[in-house]
């Protein structure tokens, strides 16, 4: 197969677009895991809800950016409530917590089926234009996803590093007991962290919704990807999630262009399996902190 420069750029753009979506998903997943030790199986449903709420707000007349913002806020609030009143009660036991999250996932997925129907939907909003620089052509919708993701990642990092709430979250991730002793309240920080996690998933869903179609089970695929990304990068590691997400996105994009879809489905698992065997705690080691 002949790979020309425009083609490589196309593949890289696609890879980055998917990879950064994975990063957004994986970040939320890893934040919740890093702080609470909760493997959140309902994470994919936040992604799905982000996309569908975006659709609903748009049908109510909101323009896309406003609809996206509203959807994200709604999902974040839902996340905070779930943490406060449900997940928090179970977080001391991994198994029980897993079942609760699976139960939640089933409830959300099938509620979406009832509310929005079984048919694939698409957002009444598309970015059809392309950006061409010389012989290189970039589809604008994917560039928007890339740019927005990068902006969010920078913002998220600043939040964690520069604000008091961010500090509290990082302290919690290191040691819940000691952080509590220093006056960090788990009852306010944990719901906040969960809300941010859900919000990030909703942003990913909302951002990708103009590019792909929407269906009630759209959350399972990115959930699977965020598992892989998080394992590859190292659980609880934010730089790990970033690097691993981009690696997986690019690897899949190249694999699907050169070898077809079936190879690209498997490649993430293969990379992760090999890395885990060589380095069981993932690329970015067993860092117990977020950051």
């Amino acid at each position: 197969m002949l790979l020309s420069l425009p083609m490589i750029m196309q593949v890289v753009t696609n890879g980055l677009c998917m990879g950064l979506t994975y990063v957004l998903m994986a970040l939320g997943f890893t934040v919740v895991f890093g702080i609470m030790g909760v493997v959140n199986y309902a994470h994919g449903e936040f992604y799905m809800l982000g996309a569908f709420l975006c659709l609903t707000f748009m049908t109510l007349g909101a323009p896309y950016p406003l609809a996206l913002a509203l959807a994200v806020i709604a999902v974040a609030c839902l996340g905070a409530l779930l943490e406060r009143y449900l997940v928090d009660r179970f977080r001391s036991d991994l198994r029980t917590c897993m079942i609760v999250c699976l139960g939640l996932s089933t409830v959300f997925k099938n509620s979406a089926l009832v509310l929005w129907g079984a048919q694939d939907r698409s957002l009444p909003f598309r970015i059809d234009s392309v950006l061409s620089i010389g012989s290189l052509i970039f589809p604008a919708d994917r560039l928007v996803v890339v740019a927005a993701s990068v902006a969010l990642l920078v913002g998220f990092n600043l939040f964690l590093k520069r604000t008091r709430q961010g500090l509290a979250i990082r302290a919690m991730a290191q040691d819940v007991e000691v952080a509590s002793a220093f006056g960090v309240r788990p009852s306010s920080v944990l719901p906040l962290a969960f809300a941010i996690s859900a919000g990030l998933a909703a942003v990913a869903g909302g951002l990708i919704s103009p590019v792909f179609s929407l269906s009630y089970d759209m959350g399972s695929f990115p959930l699977m990807k965020s598992f892989i990304v998080v394992i590859l990068g190292g659980l609880g590691s934010i730089p790990g999630a970033l690097v691993a997400g981009v690696i997986i996105g690019l690897a899949e994009s190249f694999a699907s262009t050169m070898f077809g879809g079936s190879v690209s489905d498997i490649i993430g698992f293969v990379i992760t399996g090999v890395v885990l065997i060589l380095k069981p705690s993932g690329l970015f080691g067993k860092s117990s902190r977020l950051g």
Partner: protein, 337 residues
């Protein structure tokens, strides 16, 4: 080993099970409706797999790859029967052996991973197996799967006429017998020194190692045995349905087995059995509310673990779980429990 007596199963808890087995033998002649017999077969199939998974959970691990091993068993048995024309008893045991060999090989590597890492890698493993079957169009039939799998014909040298099992009634007995053998074997295993080693590993892996017990060996053994049972489950599934496809063995099928254990009760002999018994027919019972079926299923799951923390088996026996000290985990590092 002074705790030996308290850890072995009480005689009184074994005999009612055997008695119940006797009653179960009569069910197909009492119940006319084939639908109930079908549900019972599914329950028995799940008991086989859930009991296998229980063994892994006994060593403090949680596997999301079990449906993968079930599918390996199903495909092995189907291909051995269709391509090589081997008789059912051979393909049936072969399926168990192949699934078990895969579990052994993979387990030796991945069981070095701790806690959640192990959980997530088994998830990757299950998905990889499914994708291999989906993409292997030439050998495995791809997404269309394999059809035309023969029923179970048991032709043993000492039998006058071969037993041909193709009806629901026939499979009822076959799956029941396999389930009973698996459960009895597991109970015997748990009450032996192996079972005590499993228990010790789940409670304090490091300490067990200090006692001179090779924990990796026991963990790999548990994983391989679970793989064997899953393989048997898969073989029965393939010959009962006569048709298999990758989508029968996805993530949620693995999750169902975990849920059966947790809802039934992980630390009891009856846990996986009760879990299968309650959860397999549950979607059918909810069928009257077809739109809300899966939603109710999710709600019931959450309520079950919220109000019966040790599982149904513990709730039924009326005893309280010893309260565990609440451990605060350091971020990232999660105990295997």
């Amino acid at each position: 080993m002074t705790k030996e007596r308290t850890l072995s199963p009480k005689r009184s808890s074994v005999w009612p099970v055997i008695g119940l087995g006797g009653i179960l033998l009569l069910v197909p002649s009492l119940v006319g409706d084939e639908f109930y017999i079908h549900t019972a077969i599914m329950v028995y199939l799940n008991i086989i797999g859930a009991t296998g998974l229980n063994m892994i959970m006994k060593t403090g691990r949680l596997s999301l790859a079990q449906a993968g091993f079930v599918s390996v068993g199903a495909y092995s048995s189907a291909l051995l029967a269709l391509r090589l024309g081997l008789p059912f008893p051979v393909t049936f045991l072969g399926a168990g052996v192949i699934a078990s060999a895969l579990a052994f090989a993979v387990g030796a590597v991945i069981l070095r991973l701790q806690g959640v890492y192990f959980l997530l890698i088994t998830y990757c493993l299950g998905e990889t197996v499914r994708l291999v079957f989906t993409n292997g169009v030439n050998v495995f039939g791809g997404a269309n799967g394999i059809s035309g799998i023969p029923g179970a014909v048991i032709d043993l040298p000492w039998l006058a006429t071969p037993i041909e099992i193709s009806s629901k009634q026939g499979f009822y007995y076959l799956t029941l017998i396999v389930a009973i053998v698996v459960v009895v074997f597991t109970i015997l295993l748990y009450s032996s020194h192996v079972g005590r080693a499993f228990q010790a590993i789940s409670e304090a892996e490091g300490l067990t190692e200090c006692l001179g017990i090779d924990t990796t060996r026991y963990k790999v053994a548990a994983f391989a045995l679970a793989g064997f049972f899953s393989g048997l489950q898969g073989a029965l599934f393939a010959h009962y349905f006569r048709f298999i496809a990758p989508q029968f063995f996805g993530f949620w099928e693995s999750v169902d087995l975990v849920v059966m254990n947790v809802v039934g009760g992980v630390n009891t002999y009856l846990g996986p059995i009760i879990g299968s018994l309650v959860l397999t027919p549950l979607p059918e019972l909810l069928r009257g509310y077809v739109d809300y079926q899966r939603i109710l299923y999710g709600v019931i799951l959450i309520l079950a673990v919220a109000f019966m923390p040790g599982g149904i088996a513990v709730a039924l026996s009326g005893c309280r779980l010893p309260s565990k000290p609440r451990r605060f985990r350091r971020g990232g590092a999660v105990e295997s429990e």
